[in-house]
């Protein structure tokens, strides 16, 4: 695995620890109870990242914001990957009419919508909230995994060992889960780590548009939205949540690229 991937893993490890042990590093009250006397204060010893327009402590909000970002990133990726995997595997394995309907029609319908636009429409329809946002992001996310999985299954199901299993009387389910899936799943792992970055970004975008987590719960996207009017006089209100998003996305992309290289021997350097 290359060095960038290790850096990616290190950054993610730091973010995960921060999110899990958030109360050790920051106070929930400072993140959610406005201190109107101390608005737009620059970074200092007491407020490392300064305070924002309402007097929230930016550092505390960035720390607690990591919880939301990771929660959304991980759940969206896991749910849409599993769902996409099943649908894609069914399309590739059974072929024929089922495949024509799924990959020829359903996949294309979902791919035809601009992802974020569909998510916005869904959130507007379902209402704001963490669970609903996760649902909306899963609805736009699964099709990418399904497409990759279908292609993989189409390839692996022609391998001799699959034919051998069939000749030996193995059932369809057994062939699919024991013989095909374990040999088809590698590219999905790469896809999932890149998808994690996408989900974090989508969460930030939706929150930025006011369609995400309702205040006062801190989210990086909401923080940027709040900073939109103040960043000229207090740039730190924009800088720190922005940096947090950038670092997280970058780290997941490093991991994704590293995994791709690691799992694909053709790209592996000697």
């Amino acid at each position: 695995m290359n060095r960038l991937a290790y850096i990616g893993f290190a950054i993610i490890a730091v973010i995960v620890v921060t999110a899990v042990f958030a109360p050790l590093f920051a106070s929930w009250d400072a993140a959610t109870v406005p201190d109107t006397a101390l608005r737009l204060a620059p970074p200092s010893g007491t407020h490392w990242f300064g305070t924002d327009v309402l007097g929230y402590d930016v550092f505390s909000r960035v720390v607690y914001g990591a919880r939301i970002s990771l929660q959304v990133g991980v759940t969206v990726t896991i749910i849409s990957a599993i769902f996409g995997m099943i649908i894609g595997a069914v399309a590739g394995f059974y072929g024929g009419f089922i495949d024509k309907f799924l990959s020829g029609y359903l996949f294309n319908v979902f791919l035809a919508f601009p992802g974020l636009l569909l998510a916005i429409a869904l959130v507007a329809f379902l209402g704001a909230g963490l669970g609903k946002m996760i649902l909306a992001l899963c609805i736009i996310g699964w099709v990418g995994y399904a497409r990759v999985m279908r292609g993989q299954v189409l390839k692996v199901r022609e391998f001799d060992f699959v034919q051998a299993a069939r000749a030996l009387g193995a059932s369809n389910l057994r062939i699919l889960f024991i013989h095909i899936l374990p040999n088809a799943i590698q590219p999905l792992i790469v896809q999932a780590s890149l998808g994690m970055a996408g989900a974090v970004l989508s969460e930030a975008s939706l929150s930025f548009l006011g369609l995400g987590i309702p205040p006062p719960t801190p989210s990086w996207g909401t923080m940027i939205e709040d900073a939109r009017t103040t960043y000229t006089i207090a740039p730190h209100t924009l800088l720190f949540p922005g940096l947090a998003i950038a670092l997280t996305v970058l780290a997941f992309n490093f991991i994704g690229d590293g995994l791709r290289e690691y799992l694909d021997p053709k790209q592996r350097r000697r």
């Binding site: 060992f161 299993a165 030996l168 009387g169």
Partner: protein, 373 residues
């Protein structure tokens, strides 16, 4: 009439190219010659009757003018395999040998004709009914690197069919797997290893052990030695022979290695472009091939004596095997056959008995005149 070299010059006319005599052939008198077409015998363990596997290629899509075509991979094959024998199936790459083998086991669904196993038509069995039959019909694959699941241990690979068919339970599965491993010449210590830790020959032994796990009667061996080193080929062939006499197995041995087929087979079928062109006992087909294609094929086998090898005459065929999409009409071989006449382009030859128990599909030979030239 000297009958040295006859040329078919038109409807009912045959002209001798040597002396120029023109002979009118009476179709009625031709019919009086009794030609016995090949029919599978009743006691055969597996019989194929006019088996066809046609694939439809997909067209070029909505905006393409490319039309869907039909690939005739197996185009009307009739033969039988008797209990305890080895039937060798030879032919060039792409002639449909492997497809035929897979169609017998219903790994590819036949599109026409019948596969009969011990008197039962398997062609239309449901998937679950077919699963029961799979115990008796097994397959050994060509590529020992592709035919074993890389993520399963040897024990799991060989044990899978035992568990699927509940041939035994609990700890005795492991014991059975170990016995099978020793039967095929693998140490039972390797049971927890993965396929990539083995050499090609050892992997092929794993594949054979897996096929034997269900104690089958009939095994399709699809080019089981062509991916192996020559020294290993002999080992695997010997193992297959030993197992055959030990367990009274019946083999369909598919190969393009004519010497291996000669060594292992009791009877040999020669396949060209989806059809069987000749079927006879091994010795008879190798000593006196009747069909022009078999003659060319067998003349391609090198003789392990440099002096004879340098002197002997080889029949070199012109051109390549035509595509099984729209194969040539009439006899599929007429485009490359040195003896082709006009009638070959239209009449489809039937597999008929030319000599006792020696069948060939060529309109230019007959029981009266088995030699073509």
């Amino acid at each position: 009439m000297c009958s040295a070299s006859l040329q078919f010059t038109g409807d009912r006319h045959v002209k001798c190219t040597h002396c120029g005599t023109d002979v009118i052939v009476d179709p009625e008198s031709q019919k009086s010659v009794e030609k016995k077409p090949f029919r599978p015998q009743a006691d055969a363990i597996v019989a194929l009757e006019d088996l066809k596997v046609h694939y439809r290629t997909s067209g070029g899509g909505m905006f393409s003018r490319k039309k869907a075509a039909v690939v005739r991979a197996v185009d009307g094959v009739t033969f039988d395999i008797k209990h305890g024998e080895t039937l060798g199936l030879v032919g060039e790459s792409g002639c449909g040998k492997s497809t035929l083998g897979k169609a017998i086991l219903r790994l590819t669904n036949p599109t026409g004709g019948r596969v009969v196993y011990r008197g039962e038509d398997m062609t239309h069995l449901s998937a679950s009914a077919m699963r029961e039959n799979r115990r008796h019909l097994q397959m050994i694959f060509q590529d020992p690197y592709a035919s074993l699941n890389p993520r399963m241990t040897v024990g799991d690979i060989i044990g899978e069919p035992i568990r699927t068919f509940r041939l035994t339970n609990g700890n005795s599965v492991t014991q059975m797997v170990q016995e099978l491993m020793e039967t095929v010449g693998l140490s039972r210590r390797f049971i927890k290893r993965y396929p990539h830790e083995f050499s090609g020959g050892q992997r092929q032994r794993i594949g054979i052990a897996r096929a034997l796990a269900v104690d089958p009667e009939f095994i399709v061996a699809d080019e089981p030695i062509s991916a192996l080193d020559v020294s290993i080929q002999a080992q695997i062939m010997n193992l297959m022979e030993e197992l055959q006499s030990e367990k009274n197995l019946t083999y369909l041995f598919i190969s393009h290695d004519l010497r291996a087929v000669r060594h292992l087979s009791d009877r040999v079928a020669v396949m060209y472009l989806g059809k069987i062109v000749e079927l006879a006992e091994g010795a008879s087909i190798y000593e006196q091939p009747l069909h022009p294609y078999s003659q060319a094929l067998i003349s391609a086998v090198p003789v392990p004596d440099p002096e004879i090898e340098a002197k002997r005459e080889r029949i070199i065929l012109q051109g390549d095997v035509p595509s099984p999409i729209n194969p040539p009409p009439g006899c599929h071989f007429h485009t490359r056959c040195p003896y082709a006449i006009d009638e070959c382009k239209t009449r489809v030859p039937e597999l008929v008995e030319i000599k006792p128990r020696h069948f060939a599909a060529c309109i230019r030979i007959s029981p009266e005149k088995p030699e073509i030239a």
